[in-house]
């Protein structure tokens, strides 16, 4: 058993044309997915990153530089992550494939988390 992280890259979707009913339907799909993963005992956690504020910090030649971002140039941002448990990478991949994020313009980066011990 190992833990895997689903890094959710997203193109900020324009939901302004969505009706209340459609917004709720999309949300229900996400919820159904995470509940299913939970019911299978594979859910570890998930967090959403805030949309509206972020900066890049870099150290160049010993100087820290703080720049606005990632939104100014990047078309994609990391919107959040889910952590899941799986026997192996193939199983984690199967679980990730069902994530509705992929239906709504998002991209998922699936990585195994290195055990701490």
């Amino acid at each position: 058993m190992a833990n895997y992280m689903l890094l959710l890259h997203e193109q900020p979707t324009d939901y302004s044309k969505y009706s209340a009913e459609q917004i709720q339907a999309v949300m229900s799909e996400y919820t159904a997915w995470s509940r299913k993963v939970e019911a299978e005992g594979k859910y570890v956690g998930g967090q959403k990153l805030k949309d509206d504020f972020g900066k890049h910090i870099s150290g160049i030649n010993g100087t820290l530089r703080v720049t606005d971002g990632p939104y100014t140039e990047a078309k994609e941002v990391i919107g959040g992550y889910f952590a899941i448990r799986a026997e192996n990478y193939a199983e984690a991949l199967e679980t990730a494939k069902g994530c509705p994020h992929l239906k709504y313009g998002g991209r998922i980066e699936l990585r195994e988390i290195e055990p701490t011990s």
């Binding site: 939901y15 302004s16 209340a20 949300m27 996400y30 995470s34 998930g46």
Partner: protein
């Protein structure tokens, strides 16, 4: 009073976002002003989008409605600050002073008052009925422009235009969010009930359009009518009569189309499949509708719907009583559609020959494009063995509808007539 969390049914959770929009818009418009309606509507949508992005990760908050309202309120405040409508000198504290305890019982009464004021504003007589309907669906029903356009077979641009104009008219007429004076409640309630009636009929009438949205229209009319029946300002025998009518009719919604997608007439419906829970609610409203001295059109229509719904079989339906109700309706105000229904009831008592004679006699100039008129005519002709003329009427009916369920039904009927 309206209970928010305790009596929540699965149906209302499934449609939480749409149904709750009305509550949020009403409360926020009380706080920020009716003139901020557009801003408030955008903020409510933003809050829902924020929930969409957050809740899949965090799970549902303990009180989703309070969460959504809080986020929407902050969006409005942000926007007002951006527009420099607020200067940070404490005005905003006054604005939101009474906004702290969202779940207190006192506040629940306040909320339902807000919602009622919003209904009255949307159905304000300054606007024509179609604009009232569109506004009500948008603001009170929480439907999107696309959904409204889908239900009424208009373009999104046309639907949006109606709504923009209707809002403008309200502004121009200085309409505020307020409860009518007790002396004018009846007068202001009349267009509200008419709007609900139109919404229900649009959903119930078998023409064209998105079937799912059409069913939603019926449930929306029922939801709003039951809201009015519970609010002390609007609860009245007439409102109960309308709720009874909707619920008796609504109990048959799912039985009108069979698994093959073909229209099933009342005579052939499986009565056991009718929604018993809705019939129970209908009966409760029907009893309450009889508590006053008034016999409105809604009372008569509710009685007709009750007689149909409560008959054990189609054959044992109390046709003489139904005929009487239609005659009384005609006395109130003549309508060709009611006349058509009266003739159908008459046919059940006097036979098709007499009914057809009356049908041919009536002024049907307004009904030439009405599918049901030609179906009924075809039925009478078919009962009388006049296959050729019956087929002609079925064909006319087919040319008037694009509804697949009705077309399937009519194709079958036409085949039967020709094979006899």
């Amino acid at each position: 009073m309206i209970q928010i969390s305790e009596t929540e049914t699965q149906e209302s959770i499934d449609h939480l976002f749409r149904h709750h929009a009305w509550q949020m818009v009403s409360v926020l418009c009380r706080i920020f002003g009716f003139d901020k309606l557009d801003l408030v509507e955008d903020a409510v949508q933003d809050a829902q989008i924020a929930a969409l992005k957050k809740w899949p990760f965090s799970g549902f908050p303990d009180n989703p409605r309070a969460w959504l309202t809080e986020v929407a309120k902050n969006r409005v405040l942000d926007q007002l600050r951006r527009e420099k409508k607020l200067d940070g000198t404490g005005d905003e504290d006054n604005l939101i002073a009474d906004f702290t305890d969202y779940s207190s019982l006192y506040f629940l009464n306040e909320i339902s008052d807000d919602q009622l004021r919003m209904i009255f504003a949307c159905c304000h007589p300054a606007n024509a009925p179609d604009a009232q309907v569109a506004l009500t669906l948008k603001i009170v029903g929480g439907f999107s422009i696309a959904e409204i356009a889908g239900a009424y077979l208009s373009s999104e641009a046309a639907a949006a235009k109606i709504i923009t104009r209707a809002k403008k008219k309200l502004r121009k007429n200085g309409v505020r969010l307020e409860m009518p004076q007790p002396s004018e409640t009846g007068e202001r309630l009349a267009p509200v009930l008419k709007v609900l009636y139109l919404i229900f009929n649009e959903g119930y009438a078998a023409s064209t359009g998105d079937e799912l949205i059409r069913t939603d229209l019926c449930f929306e009319a029922i939801r709003l009518c039951e809201f009015l029946s519970k609010h002390p300002v609007t609860a009245s025998p007439k409102v109960h009569a309308l709720a009874a009518l909707f619920l008796f009719q609504g109990s048959r919604l799912a039985s009108r189309v069979d698994q093959a997608g073909e229209l099933v007439l009342l005579a052939d419906q499986d009565r056991k499949s009718w929604d018993k829970e809705m019939i129970g609610r209908a009966l409760k409203h029907f009893r309450l509708s009889a508590s006053g001295g008034e016999l409105s059109d809604f009372h008569l229509e509710a009685e007709i719907a009750a007689l149909h719904t409560l008959a054990g079989t189609y054959k044992t339906t109390d046709w003489p009583r139904i005929l009487k109700c239609y005659e009384n309706l005609q006395k109130h105000s003549f309508s060709p559609v009611v006349e058509l229904n009266r003739i159908v009831a008459l046919g059940k008592i006097n036979g098709p020959k007499n009914a057809l004679a009356q049908l041919e006699q009536m002024d049907a100039s307004n009904l030439q494009n009405y599918t049901l008129f030609h179906i009924i005519r075809a039925q009478f002709l078919s009962d009388l063995g006049e296959a050729g003329s019956a087929l002609e009427s079925y064909k006319t009916a087919m040319s008037l509808t694009q509804n697949e369920a009705i077309l399937k039904f009519l194709r079958k009927k036409s085949r039967r007539v020709t094979s006899v």
